[in-house]
Amino acid sequence: MTTETVSPPSTRQRFRAALLKAWEPYRSVPLLGWLVAILVAVGLERLVGLPLAYLLGMSKVPALLGVVVVLSDPIRIPSVLIYILLIYVVPIGLVARFTAPLFNRIAAYLMRYPLLVTALVHLLLLYADLHLWASISDYRILVARLTMIAIIVTLSLNLVNGYMGEFSCSHPGFMALGAYTASVFTLVLFVNDNRFGEAIFPPSWGPYFFPVGLVLGGVVSAIGALLVAIPSFRTRGDYLAIISLAFMFVVKSLFENMEVVGGARGVANQPDYATLPIVFVWTVLSVWIMNNFVRSTMGKALNAVRDDELAATAMTVDTRKTKMVAFLFAAFWAGVAGGLFAHVLHYINPDTFGIRKLAEVLAMVYFGGLNSVTGSIVGAVSLNLISEALRPLEIYKWIIIPIMLILIMIYRPTGLVAFTEFEIEKLFLPKGETSKGAGHGTA
């Protein structure tokens, strides 16, 4: 600060100061305000998005902020920018800014009710945003569902690799167990299929029993996890990494050699049970439960065991039980995610759950941030969207993404938002009076 007054501010400093000043009024926007602003923007896109896209010379609404369009056809950069500005940036900016006092009052009002009510209001708004945004194209619906599934997988792997500080590679294997179990469950019971024969129950019951299939898939992968955990948690070190990697390959070749489930050709025909709302509900549920776990003393015991196992045992922590529970719990959610995944793609084969999947999930965990629920969400969403958006670059995508990862590892070795707590209560709070006053002062 003092140096700034002595020497004239550099362009960079001035730019930063301008950015901060422009951002100032938005500090007082509560989460509720942002959600409503986004709702306005996606609603606008639904109403005038297509005509505007035509007007700007595009054949359809740019799916993921126009990155795909830009990369395949750079001459469209101006029209994409105008589109984003008109549909997203300006409406969100205006609505968020000018409704802030109103939504702060509403947020404060909601605080008087139990947390559950506030959470439900926010979740409904979030889902409305997502639904309006995604329903413009099938592609967006697919990306949204796969991204949410990635959140579940990333968070569950973060329990092991981040919170527990061990290195596990078996998540694709757990996903495969869950995916196959849930697929076979629905195909045998509710679908008339060439391979599994006539449906045992009326197919219309299927969607109602889908949760049972998913939980069953989760339980099967938890049992698989037990096979990994028993030998590898006797000691610390690299054993888990090696055994879990082996487990992943064992599961893959197991399914390749099981003709009952199609061998290497895989299983197809899963009905469309994993719709956007269903995946959304499961994602919210998994994040809520895992967040509950890591914030309890029982969950924090994972950190204690990671940072100093001897001290943890001396403080009455049952290290073996702690590790086992977390590992099985993580595998359970990976299995559930696998089941959802199979019903989103309507087709799985053993190759889906190989080393490529592992690299993807590990990248999301380390990109987003270790030991952090927020980090897992950030990592899963950003890497998924980036990798979808860079699709036109084909093989170069696999050069750019690793380079990003390397840069992250150099500049933020534990990931973008590591070691931060995800405090639901604080998320919903109205923003403070002091910052609001300052915002009005500068404006």
Partner: protein
Amino acid sequence: MALLEVRNMTHWFGGLRAVHNYNLTIEKGQIRGLIGPNGAGKTTIFNLITGVYHPTEGTILLEGEDITHLEPNEIASRGLGRTFQNMRLWRYLTVLEHVKMARYSKLTYGLVGAFFGTAKREAEEKANTELAMELLDLVGAAQFADQLVTSLPYGIQRRVELARALATEPKVLFLDEPTAGMNPEELIQMMEIIRKVHDQIGMAIFLIEHRMKFVMELCETIQTLNFGEVIAEGTPEEIRNNPVVIEAYLGKEVEV
């Protein structure tokens, strides 16, 4: 019946006899000390009694029950708390979380509570937070409750470790060099804290210490260890003047 009793404990590390025929009796509320030159086996004895190692021979009884072959966490939850020579705090937990962690074996909300955040869990976590704050207050570290331990001064870290050990509700508290690396001022503060804790909670204390002033003032009786064997046992006064002890520390006078 003694609170803690160790009978004829011997331990071999491969071909090295680290502890030989060690005996100890601690009664309720006693403060006893264990001294000896470096490498005499003091910490090994701590580790043997608290279950980190299992002794080759001998039995350890806590309130008459055999705890020789239990795991460290079981021994700790039965009422044998300890601190470490090099503290062993957890890098990414706050001070409050440290103390609450030591309540692990007393938690009853189980996995259902951990996963779904039940009312029972809320109540238990709240009660544990209150208890932890009381203990932090007792050792004078309450104002640091929300900080990570790594950012705290050394003396405060020591107090946090003590509060953490107290949260296990020890019947016997093992202190492994509680003043290691402290300056004289911190040492006196630590001595007062230990005395205060002992007066208020009244558990027995067994401590390893190098600072003679500290041992002499606090302990009722002292054992002196050399090469894994107790060479002298008695009141501070007796130990101070015991020629065997002086020899162990300073060496034998040689006649020229």
